[in-house]
């Protein structure tokens, strides 16, 4: 059963906005809705992982029958609610918040992982990302976040370590036609930025593409400014 995400989130939110309290409400008043009741039953199990799906978030939990561990898909929640509940659940058991997939990271999390490869952000054989590239990536992401706030739009930045010791920053806007912008931040200040702008169809086709291999920071910021008005309202 999947209810509209907005309704589910409201159901799991406390009046004070405290995630702990929201969690308590979910557990103590299971009859409010079936998803909450199913979650309460399932919380007797240890969470194994959770993953996004089209309708929200699929929570997978492990149970042990004899020596055999089995994995069941519990139910689908809105992503915000499921993350909130799982975080509280794990914290109550002294476990760190789950970090399963890249999709759950903010740009700050991603930057921290790029900065500290031992935390799991770097691929084996990946050259270390330069401090300069990390600094520029952080400044760029922070700039875009600030501009998006000013314009009251959503434009999350995805930061990815590049295979050349730099950082790749990218943004996606649109649900039908997707406007994609990616910037390769080089590993040292003597090299130029690489810029790629594409307009993509949902079926994976590229309608338009522009690639610049030698761009300045000013050109990068101009490309971001052109993308901002296309972003959805926050």
């Amino acid at each position: 059963m999947t209810a509209p995400p907005a309704v589910l989130f409201k159901m799991g939110s406390s009046s004070s906005g405290d995630p702990d309290l929201a969690f308590e409400e979910l557990v103590t008043e299971p009859r409010k809705a079936r998803p909450a009741f199913r979650l309460q039953r399932a919380l007797h199990c240890e969470p194994l992982s959770y993953s996004e799906s089209i309708t929200g978030l699929t929570v997978a939990l492990s149970t042990t029958t004899g020596s055999t561990a089995c994995r069941t898909t519990l139910c689908e929640f809105s992503r915000d609610l499921a993350e909130q509940v799982l975080t509280v659940f794990l914290r109550n058991r002294g476990m760190p918040a789950p970090r399963v997939a890249a999709g759950e990271y903010s740009w700050r999390d991603r930057l921290a992982m790029i900065r500290e490869p031992e935390s799991g952000g770097a691929e084996p054989d990946q050259p270390p990302v330069s401090a300069w590239a990390v600094e520029v990536a952080g400044a760029l992401a922070s700039y875009v976040e600030g501009r998006a706030k000013c314009l009251r739009v959503k434009l999350p930045t995805v930061l990815v370590p590049s295979s050349e010791g730099g950082v790749q920053a990218e943004w996606n806007v649109g649900l039908g036609l997707l406007h994609h912008l990616e910037v390769a931040i080089p590993s040292d200040p003597d090299r130029q930025f690489e810029l790629l702008k594409t307009v993509e169809r949902p079926d994976g086709g590229i309608v338009a593409a522009t690639e610049f291999s030698n761009s300045t920071l000013a050109e990068v910021l101009a490309a971001v400014e052109k993308l901002l008005p296309k972003a959805t309202r926050a």
């Binding site: 890249a102 990815v160 990616e182 690639e211």
Partner: protein, 122 residues
């Protein structure tokens, strides 16, 4: 030559599906690979598995902490990087995509991915 395993250096058919292991930090917020997923550190060529020659579990077993993405071989051919078989004793399904691949073509590969498998939970 082992029966069923194509000889070293023969082109992979366009109709094949190719699997590539992608480190989680190279996935985007929508759970899709970024263009960096199609660039290998320290090497211009890319390693892939030919799906028809090994079960998914084999690829996942070798890369348990990575996402496994699947792209049709024809997409690589269309962007001018024809994969060829490079089977090894440890991995008979191994193939190589000659590189380097430009940023735009890597993006095209990334958006052509038709299946994404999450890392194996541990």
């Amino acid at each position: 030559m082992t029966p069923g395993i194509p000889p070293l250096g023969t082109p992979v058919l366009g109709t094949e599906n190719l699997r590539r292991a992608v480190w989680p930090s190279k996935m985007d917020d929508r759970g899709r690979p970024t263009s960096e997923a199609f660039r290998a550190p320290k090497h211009p060529d890319l390693s892939v598995d030919v799906a028809s020659l090994a079960p998914l579990a084999d690829t996942q077993g070798r890369f348990p902490t990575s996402f496994i993405v699947v792209v049709r071989c024809q997409v690589f051919i269309d962007v001018g990087h024809e994969p060829f078989h490079t089977p090894t004793a440890a991995n008979p399904s191994h193939a190589t995509v000659p590189g380097p691949i430009t940023k735009l073509h890597r993006r095209r590969l990334a958006i052509s991915v038709h299946h994404v498998y999450r890392p194996i939970p541990h």
